[in-house]
Subunit: 427 residues, 2 copies
Amino acid sequence: MSDVETLLARRQVLLGPGMATFYRRPLHIVKGQGVWLWDAEGRRYLDAYNSVPHVGHCHPHVVEAICRQAATLNTHTRYLHEGILDYMERLTATMAPPLAAGIMVCTGSEANDIALRMAQAVTGRTGVIATDWTYHGNTAAVSQLSTRTPPVGGHQGHVRHVPAPDGLRPLGGQGGAAFAEAWGRAVAAAIDDLAASPHGFSALIVCPFFANEGFPELPDGFLAPAAAAVKRAGGLLICDEVQPGFGRLGSHFWGHQRAGVLPDIVTMGKPMGNGHPVAAVVTSAETLAAFRKAFRYFNTFGGNPVSMAAAHAVLDVIERERLMANAEATGRYVQTRFESLRARHPRIAQVRGAGLFFGAEFVRPDGSPDEPFTAEVVEGMLKRGIILNRLGIGMNTLKIRPPLPFGPAEADLLADALADTLAELDR
Amino acid sequence: MSDVETLLARRQVLLGPGMATFYRRPLHIVKGQGVWLWDAEGRRYLDAYNSVPHVGHCHPHVVEAICRQAATLNTHTRYLHEGILDYMERLTATMAPPLAAGIMVCTGSEANDIALRMAQAVTGRTGVIATDWTYHGNTAAVSQLSTRTPPVGGHQGHVRHVPAPDGLRPLGGQGGAAFAEAWGRAVAAAIDDLAASPHGFSALIVCPFFANEGFPELPDGFLAPAAAAVKRAGGLLICDEVQPGFGRLGSHFWGHQRAGVLPDIVTMGKPMGNGHPVAAVVTSAETLAAFRKAFRYFNTFGGNPVSMAAAHAVLDVIERERLMANAEATGRYVQTRFESLRARHPRIAQVRGAGLFFGAEFVRPDGSPDEPFTAEVVEGMLKRGIILNRLGIGMNTLKIRPPLPFGPAEADLLADALADTLAELDR
């Protein structure tokens, strides 16, 4: 058996069946540095996919911060420590008031699990609205939001789904303000439906960039009608910033800032510690107090000194290396290069994104999502040493979300490889 | 304001009200090494409480493993990596078949959240039984098991509580086999009650050492009648090893082995990575397959190379430094010393525990739990530079659960300080 086959067989036994890997022939990755990954055979890949190593794989400043703190002290928040306080101040300084306090946890799933309970504590109700193509995490409570595998014992009946926004196929048939209004009406209808149920309405939870939905191109102020409906009903708006947060979108530090809404609760995770398990919920003093009154909550590892050292170091690097500016500039540049490909390849319906979260949507001649073609593009890019993936309602949009040090040189490698892949597939 | 007051005021603003600390005047801890902690004023404390730094605060072998791997690669399990496979093999080698596979996560809460769903997937039912003085974690689903603050929207009705076992006040009034039988009948009655409900019965979840319940002294085979009732009803036995696992009890690597039961699912967390956020669920291939069929599950940080390096290093140190043997020997020795205190202090109703998880229960002359006195003992020990806490149904039992390198010299410091504290309180 090959190395890969051996590892797959061991996974089957030790980790169980159906534990998904990427690619037809999964990768055995052994080393990472900056925007590069290496496999066990010494082959190098340009990482245009992974958002967790936000400031670059194994960034020395983050590694050093982890090592220093791990050698000094790593304990919990029942004792006092500056790390969590300094970090929470620095984190909330990136947001508008009243987002000024929060809870440190270990995973985005834990953060969303808390966010849902915060909304319950504030409203006294339990109903939640999410899109029908979302993913907010894997705890029992949070996985109720997904439309995929239904839970044992059935859904609890407290979740309503609204259609995932699709810029190419807008709800109501029209783009612009009409699209935003139509989507807001869908949210309002779901609110009414929950309000008439025993659950009541507590919160709308969205990724403000609608990342899993395929980061659709949306009219300015798209979320405003929905946010207004939430507010009218006394509910909370939860923005899940696990994917767009921490400067990835270039123009704004947070996805909700780019979307022009002020959420009641913000959750974050993946990129926060550059791979160290750190996540958080940020909200107002009032919402946090309501939660702490309603639920006892203590997270053993959450906000520990090493996690906070890692998270501090990530913010240091974003600032020192001007990674937001890089995200914006590289994002603009690569979209220009992709646009020139679109002129030659009618299968590319649209090039879109913001900063270092971008992609292209592939369709058939009739405009319908071309998932099989997109899957071929992903494999074709891998063959050329480029790691990326696909997502969206039709799973037909490239998911390109590299570590933030991804610059113009890497953008050229990416665009050249895509041109090459498309040329091969078009033959 | 003093340093401590300043930090408390900042916590109030940034982390919200009611975020508990230990002690009347909380500690500001800045450094840890082995079984020692230092505060910001340079005062040294003997750590007789913290189980997370399992092999000692900042153990150089664990720190080095984390640093090396963090500088090499830290990514997720969609790519193949030996770290998680080698670790799962090594971990499951400490358990009896069919406990041979599992899922890596970040926190004990995540592990128990999955364990409950595994039982749902296997049985198709959702009812759970726990003790009425337990704590298994903080996700929305897992916190339903606690009897404390009721959740918003009420309990979901699928949890039944059985009385926490109390060796000094046995259910049914008799000790020995009669106590085990009486407790087994309580579990069987809860099973019948759930079976007659729409939820059905899926699992009994217990800490096999009943740590939070006050680690009562129980007759041999105490869990057998309950486990048999669970099995007859087609349910699963979940053992939460977050506290007793990884050799702490000295005689056995796992609490369930000491208790003489073979669980269907084992969960673990806290000590696993010596502070690095690592946790896991271990079960049979069949149960894991049923879960993977019923639920999509992926944990971004779970089982990543750095987490696995930390967890491997912890197992290395347990073996190399013979920490289980140390736990057993030190545990025996310190209980002898505590017993001699009991002869002089009638407030000590019982000295008990196993390995490096032990304590003493304090009662009033009428035998009722003396919580205020126990609280004074905890503060008196702190004054003498010893960190410990209290737990149990009456919150009147000392919770002594130090890092495993805690040896006879530290046991003497601890016992001398306790003698001193009791002498002062008795004056």
